[in-house]
Symmetry: C2
Subunit: 209 residues, 2 copies
DNA sequence: AATTAATTGTTATTTAATAAACAAAGGTAG
DNA sequence: CTACCTTTGTTTATTAAATAACAATTAATT
């Protein structure tokens, strides 16, 4: 059932489908067609059906997919039944925005700690998330059973922080600093650089119209 | 010369190469090998050479690439010589973090305005960027020659904001809200959803170790 | 001077992602 | 009751991206 090897892009889309399906559900919509989902996300209905096929769900002909059922199944696939705890490293502008934003957004994903190395940040809390000194990282990751970390420190600290996280046996890292970090195979790493996104938009926009 | 159709992924990597090459340059490094660039970014040297080939630059055998020259050429490819002006729509937590972060980071990309619809935001400024009322969007985009917009409003306002931007003849949009928006062909659209990234890390981390 | 090692630039192959094609099911209209 | 339309599920084809293979060049070494 665990569908161990879903393609990268399918996982991304399932997450997006779910968020928008929850809105449909809240609006009282019971069934939805593949082409309706496709329209929301600007993709083809075939893509949607293919993704849904991969997780083994089956819709009803002429009625489409049952919204609640599909949401529940995506949850079974994406979520860890026992939940997963997340830490934010770097309680600066971005880190604090993330704390405020993510809190209480996903039942199975909780931000339970933040870390910083500046005295004016340590001991404060944002959106209920306490900021701990960075030297307690290893201990608190263990104590609070944290398996995922978001890196939001300045670029020249990213590599150091990643090393600490590896040592603390983290399982997944989302790195928002523009400096790529190096981690062993058994840690899942995702890197995203906002400046690159903006430069990409700038490049393609340049050649428009 | 304009290299009109660089692959998507190559554009992303060129932006990342440049940022790290600038650091190398600042450290006094004059030449760099493809495998050194590759190591920084966790990709293969072939990938690096291929990207560089696509922009028509040629390194010297046994010495590698001239850092300054390569930076300059990437600039010629990615940047608009006259610069491009950027607006942020939604001066909330994320919008303000972006203003503080992007300001003075790229010579050819300037954030020159922000827009909001709440009275407590309008008229304030962050990192030198003034926040205007949303109803002045069309006028100011025209006056300030803004070609790119970043959407950072709550999800249920994203579609409205996108419509305003289309009407204002924007050329590129970077949408950070989780709600996909619809724009005509002649506008370049990039969407990024942080919750999806985190859920993806959570999914793949779940099956680790 | 010949040989080896390092490194680039380019072509070919493989792999991953997307899109197209189409059979099957079942409801609707004539 | 039959023909047709809609929509799903799956296979097949196309496209895009990454990787591998390799020829070419030059510096250093024997
Ligand atoms: N702010 C944005 O919108 C934005 C956009 C794109 C990328 N980023 C990236 O995100 C990262 C953070 O950006 P920011 O704007 O929040 O910066 P910031 O300076 O506001 O925050 C960085 C925080 O990290 C803390 N820190 C520094 N070294 C540390 C260490 N070794 N251990 C723990 N904490 C440490 C600092 O005390 C500070 O609180 C940067 O790498 C930046 O490039 C930010
Ligand atoms: N904060 C984060 O770290 C984070 C992370 C992921 C995604 N996002 C997304 O980014 C967006 C903004 O998040 P945020 O945390 O900054 O929210 P926020 O509530 O702090 O800010 C939103 C801002 O948009 C303004 N606004 C609302 N409607 C508007 C309109 N029609 N025109 C102009 N301005 C308008 C509000 O006044 C507010 O200032 C949301 O869609 C959110 O889902 C944020």
């Amino acid at each position: 059932m665990a569908m161990n090897t879903l393609p990268d892009k399918t996982v991304e889309r399932l997450s997006q489908y779910r968020r928008n399906l929850l809105i449909c559900d809240a609006n009282g919509k019971e069934h939805i067609f593949s082409h309706e989902i496709a329209n929301i996300h600007h993709i083809t209905p075939v893509q949607v059906r293919r993704d849904i096929m991969l997780i083994g769900y089956t819709g009803t002909l002429r009625k489409g997919y049952n919204v609640k059922e599909l949401v529940a199944l995506i949850g079974e696939i994406l979520d860890n039944p026992d939940g997963q705890n997340v830490a934010i490293v770097g309680a600066g502008n971005l880190g604090r925005a993330l704390m405020k934003y993510f809190t209480n957004r996903r039942e199975k994903l909780s931000i339970v700690a933040a870390f910083d190395n500046h005295t004016d940040k340590i001991g404060t809390s944002f959106a209920g998330v306490e900021v701990y000194p960075i030297d307690q990282l290893k201990q608190i990751i263990k104590d609070k059973n944290i398996s995922i970390a978001i890196i939001s420190v300045p670029f020249d600290e990213a590599v150091n922080v990643a090393a600490l996280l590896v040592e603390a046996k983290i399982k997944g890292i989302l790195n928002y600093s523009p400096r790529p970090v190096n981690v062993p195979e058994n840690i899942y790493l995702e890197e995203y650089d906002m400046v690159t996104s903006l430069e990409k938009v700038a490049y393609f926009a340049k050649n428009k119209k």
